[in-house]
């Protein structure tokens, strides 16, 4: 991942998160994969055996790989072709309790910020709606970072709408792209500490992160927001998520016509 003023990293560890679910021991061919719009490009960057570790730094990669500020790492059981039409589907580093992940994040010369990353390709026809409580108000730059990866390599631009949930007022629209990492600067919208922004994109799914960089660059802060389904547990969470989205989208539409 890449965002202005920070480098990205991904620490790969060939070690399953638990000792019972996936006991893969085969040699894997680690590739980075990035979109060139009409196809996916791949490049092998390491061969890893069980127990190996490998760090990918954005500054060490050919800039073309991060042309969309996003490259995906994929552990393949054999070398991939240089050009592919969809993302590989074979599950190699895979588990469920918990999901097999690796640490990814950003860093500068003072600080590092991490999260546990893994991406299943997002559906190409889906929407994103999320509540964003990460804006901080003292000596900090606040950003929204949206990650999208779909099976299809096409890079499609969409609008993401920014609302204030307290007033249900459309504040702005910004651009986001598929198969990219998009950075949106938030301080210009002058949110208050009691405001809870809503980000809504009707035609693109995504994983949204709040990213904060202290003015002296010595502290970085990053966390992803939950999808609305995470507000409940058990039962038909997908149906509840549908209801939540519908409730808010109706309010957005009705306010737009006032």
């Amino acid at each position: 991942m890449k965002t202005p003023d920070l480098e990205g990293f991904l620490d790969l560890i060939y070690e399953a998160p638990n000792n019972w679910e996936n006991r893969i021991r085969k040699t894997i061919y680690m590739h980075v994969i990035w979109s060139e719009n009409s196809h996916w490009r791949t490049r092998q960057i390491a061969v890893m055996n069980k127990g190996d570790i490998f760090r990918i730094n954005s500054k060490d990669l050919d800039p073309i790989i991060l042309q969309n500020n996003l490259a995906l790492a994929y552990p393949a059981l054999s070398p991939l072709a240089e050009k592919i039409s969809t993302l590989p589907s074979e599950k190699t580093w895979y588990s469920e309790v918990p999901a097999w992940r690796n640490t990814s994040g950003f860093y500068n010369s003072f600080a590092q910020v991490s999260y546990q990353s893994d991406v299943e390709p997002l559906p190409s026809k889906a929407s994103l709606m999320t509540f964003h409580p990460f804006i901080q108000f003292s000596e900090i730059e606040n950003r929204l970072v949206v990650l999208n990866a779909t099976n299809s390599p096409e890079i499609i631009e969409s609008n993401i709408q920014i609302y204030n949930s307290n007033k249900m007022k459309l504040i702005a629209e910004e651009k986001v792209k598929t198969n990219s990492l998009t950075t949106i600067y938030l301080d210009k919208y002058e949110f208050l500490p009691t405001d809870l922004p809503i980000f809504y994109c009707p035609n693109m799914a995504g994983i949204p992160f709040g990213l904060g960089i202290s003015n002296d660059s010595k502290m970085l802060s990053m966390e992803h927001t939950h999808p609305p389904a995470s507000l409940v547990l058990h039962g038909d969470r997908r149906a509840i998520q549908g209801k939540i989205k519908k409730n808010w989208i109706n309010r957005m539409k009705s306010n737009a016509h006032e």
Binding site: D11, I13, E15, A16, P17, N18, N19, W20, E21, I53, R55, V97, P98, R101, T103, F110, A111, Q112, V113, S114, Y115, Q116, F131, P133, F134, Q136, S138, E139, I140, S165, N166, P193, T194, D195, L196, G212, S214, K218, M219, L220, S221, E223, H224, H226, P228, S230, L231, V232, L233, H234, G235, D236, R237, A239, I240, K243, I244, N247, W248, R251
Partner: protein, 266 residues
């Protein structure tokens, strides 16, 4: 028998042996609300905050109504110290300074859970339970900037004055490998809460520069909290695993360096 059927049978056997029950139980009462058990840092140099959101309002699409929730505080041995009511009026977000709430009986609190009142707004969850998996923020030294981490365990539920433990544990010890490369110079703290009804023991297994390093095991009471501390010197890299009866023994990880800190779920 085709390959998919074989894979499915093998998976069922593995899960049946290792996780015969769900990772977290379903609450016993239909009107229960659930919460993670969030670690409190009020030791030297640290502050804990929490982003209190009007969750029922977010579900119903209407956050202008007043909303009340209870914060339950527990000490490090898992003893419930009591509840404090918190209120949010007409807005969606209120940042709570948890340290400022730790007065009187609550001064020894080490974890907290947030239970929302989901009945006042009359929302129909259709068999689901309202969940607080929200966002704790931590400040270190004089930094004005928080590191955020979201809730990761559906640890406890609340109904009619009672707190229920939701975490399951298994008959076999399992190893959880933190999916993070330990790098120095830094001080790591791996913070565990115990959502089960049983006292658990966690054995850390640390490897630094390919050499095994011994670390003492920790014991955590039901609903209690425990920390494993590891110092990584300049030039050292390593990884850490934790062995326990927990189905999912995942810690919150703090990585403190000379200038900064990072917090995330392991």
């Amino acid at each position: 028998m085709n390959r998919n059927t074989l894979v499915s049978i093998r998976r069922k056997i593995k899960f049946g042996i290792n996780i015969p029950l769900k990772v977290f139980k379903k609450p016993s009462y239909s009107n229960s609300v659930t919460s993670d058990l969030f670690p409190i840092r009020n030791d030297t140099f640290w502050e804990t905050e929490f982003e209190f959101l009007n969750i029922p309002g977010l579900i119903s699409g209407e956050t202008s109504k007043d909303h009340i929730a209870k914060i339950a505080f527990f000490n490090k041995k898992g003893l419930l110290l009591g509840f404090k009511n918190i209120e949010i009026s007409g807005v969606s977000r209120k940042t709570l300074n948890i340290n400022e709430l730790l007065t009187g009986d609550f001064i020894t609190a080490s974890t907290f859970a947030v239970f929302h009142d989901n009945e006042a707004q009359g929302i129909d969850l259709d068999g689901s339970f309202l969940a607080e998996r929200g966002y704790a923020g931590y400040k270190f030294r004089d930094s004005p900037v928080k590191g955020y981490v979201h809730g990761n365990l559906d640890a406890v539920s609340y109904s009619s004055g009672g707190v229920e433990k939701l975490g399951n544990y298994g008959p076999l010890k399992k190893t959880y490998s933190v999916q993070h490369l330990l790098t120095g110079p830094s001080d790591y703290e791996f913070i565990f809460t115990n959502p089960t009804s049983k006292k658990i023991t966690i054995q850390p297994i640390l490897e630094l520069n390919s050499q095994a390093k011994k670390i003492l095991k920790i014991k955590i009471d039901s609903l209690g909290i425990g920390t494993v501390k590891v110092k990584i010197k300049d030039g050292e890299i390593g990884n850490i695993k934790f062995k326990s009866f927990l189905y999912l023994g995942r810690p919150v990880v703090f990585r403190v360096t000379s200038d900064s800190f990072d917090v995330f779920h392991g």
